[in-house]
Amino acid sequence: MKFEYAPAPESTAIVDIQSEYNLFIDGKFVPSKGGKRFETINPSNEKVLSRVTQATSADVDKAVKAATEAYRKTWSKLTGTQRGKYLFRIARILQERAREFAVLESMDNGKPIRETRDTDIPLAAAHFFYHAGWADKLDYAGLGKNPKPHGVVGQIIPWNFPMLMLAWKVAPALATGNTVVLKPAETTPLTALLFAEVCQQADLPKGVVNILTGDGSTGAAIVNHPGINKIAFTGSTEVGKIIAKSVASSKKALTLELGGKGANIIFEDAPIDETVEGIISGIFFNQGHVCCAGSRLLVQENIKDELLEKLKRRMSLIRVGDPLDKNTDLGAINSQAQLMKIRELAESGDAEGAQRWSPQCQLPEKGFWFPPTFFTGVSQAHRIAREEIFGPVLSVITFRTPSEAIEKANNTPYGLSAGIWTDKGSRILWSAQQLKAGVIWANTFNKFDPASPFGGYKESGWGREGGLHGLSAYLKGDFS
């Protein structure tokens, strides 16, 4: 028996998108010095949402000057207690305007409203609330007495969780007393621009947060600006390495949250129905546009057939379509370019001899879409087992013994996340110990919290975001 759903679209009346946006520098929206405008579209229907500004290096310079002034004259003069109260204000405004943010995020990014409403925006607000409380307790951060901020921080964030990544970056930077020049991703600038309004509503002193829209060239201008003391970047490992090389000859501090190829390990005694749900959220949450996605399914050989049957049945129930529909599970791929990349890698899976499976599902005609997919017959050497696809594509690999599972899971230059599914407590702790990854989800997957440090081993990055450990990314201890 199949249940039919009536459309349940979330209203867009709550958002007020301007036809054009300027840059947010020194507390005001100001036109660029010579920058052109570019369109940001809704990836689910390819309609233009707005035209935003391509910030030039002159704009970066202006923003860095504003951030430097703000750091010297106001922000560093405030006590932690006073600084913290601005963050509390921001957290409250984000909660008050949560639905507006959720709808706008869904429109600009293509992700389902269910996720922006229940995950992205509440977590973003929680991040500000959590870090607000740290602002006057930094002596307890494990970095010695009276740890110092870096000064002006340049932050470059990705398109997969635009508002949440902004919160992950801005909240700890402000709580620790830094000022910020932030660049949202080229394809998802709108919630960052709405956040600029939140800063105004909170009466955040001018220049403490500056938001520059633009592409990679704006990012490069931020990375290379001599007035910036620290860079925080989330994005691909490839770009992360370029940034690391660029700042090597400067005094800039650097933290990186980069790619992953997470192994989701299913042992034979795993509770199978919960496990299937965990596999689904591991790879299809946010269309698989997740650096910590469980994109390699490592399943113990003797339960493979049973598990895949259940997984197929569950995948057939995934509702792909209008991101603003409250019943949608899988939204649009964020851009044409990302769709091409996913297709290319999936085709390499076919070409290298893996077998592709997707449920019957009707994809909308307009926009960028890719059905939920898994590949079986995947070898460790296949590109789809090694490269980050960043889409709703799962590679299924089998193992016989726990040691083999660990060996295969760790056989990657990445080390961001991993999943473990088993009923046996000692095996969970043993596996967690063996896995070379910064975040281990045991009998769950893709959970996030401001109190929980997030970040990778090996080529998945430098440093942590969130929790006690995330603070050290924005502070100089008495040791250095």
């Binding site: 090597a248 980069l258 910064g438 975040v439 281990i440 440090p453 006690l468």
Partner: protein, 279 residues
């Protein structure tokens, strides 16, 4: 008259004391300009051999209990104490200091080693955390060693800097390839003889003598080294180490010449584990 039996200073790789595969050595003079020794001039191949030995020893050392590692490090201090006279004469010869000054340094170095030994089983308590996440989950964070760390030994002193370069890396569960300071190789090799007789498994500590300038680029570009303590590298060369080291995103730091747990945790990764709570 009795002729001294002089010591040959060789490398320390995988628990063995080989000469450089390159057959090279360099002349080391004492503070007065007299001949002191011909330490080995390690090559790129020696470095690669040391990385292989270190990697092979890494997993066992990392998984040894913190208490066990702590006892082994303490054992090193015990054996150092027994070699006090030798360290004192080497410090005097290399630095040209008085005996009293040399004794002061050697005593401080042994005490520093004991201080680091005691850190092994405190690090996860002090630098780990349990995290009060929303929802019904138990969530904790614990630091773990990154793996293989190369340490360029600084040249403020002939023995204390070696302790700073080796002991904290071991305390965190990492294995080390120490590149001795070019001017002060003797204590580094004598310390490796101490380590070889102190229950430290072969390969956990490897010591190369030679030219920092020559070895730094090979260390930076080696894809099986996870971290670099660049304290002993000149500023311009250090920038190059950071640049080349980005190819596998090595953790690269340099430190002030003082004891700090920061030297330990800089080469540790924080792992966070989530598990649901339920009946």
């Amino acid at each position: 008259m009795r002729v001294d039996v002089r010591k040959t200073y060789k490398l320390f790789i995988g628990g063995q004391f080989p000469r450089s595969e390159s057959g090279r050595s360099y002349e080391l003079l004492d503070a007065k300009g007299n001949f002191l020794a011909n330490p080995a001039l390690a090559s790129r191949k020696d470095l690669r051999d040391a990385v292989v030995a270190a990697r092979a020893a890494s997993e066992k050392w990392a998984s040894a209990s913190a208490f066990n590692r702590s006892q082994i490090l303490y054992r090193v201090a015990e054996v150092m104490e027994g070699r006090r006279e030798q360290f004192v004469s080497e410090v005097m010869a290399q630095e040209g200091v008085t005996k009293a000054q040399a004794i002061k340094q050697v005593d401080a170095a042994i005490d520093l080693w004991v201080w680091y030994a005691g850190w092994c089983d405190k690090i996860p308590t002090i630098f780990g955390s349990t995290n009060p996440v929303s929802g019904s989950f138990y969530n904790f964070t614990t630091p773990e060693p990154v793996g293989v760390v190369a340490a360029f030994i600084d040249g403020n002193s002939s023995l204390i800097d070696i302790v700073h370069g080796i002991a904290p890396i071991l305390a965190g569960g990492n294995v080390v390839i120490a590149i001795a300071n070019e001017e002060y190789p003797l204590c580094a090799i004598t310390l490796s003889e101490v380590i070889a007789t102190s229950d430290v498994p072969g390969g956990v500590v490897n010591v190369l003598t030679g030219r920092t300038e020559e070895l730094a680029p090979w260390v930076a570009s080696h894809m099986d080294i996870d971290g670099v303590d660049g304290s002993g590298v000149e500023p311009a060369a250090y920038e190059a180490v950071k640049r080349d080291g980005a190819d596998n995103l090595k953790r690269i730091y340099r430190f002030k010449a003082e004891g700090s747990p920061q030297r330990i945790i800089s080469f540790m990764e924080n792992k966070t584990v989530w598990h649901p709570i339920g009946i």
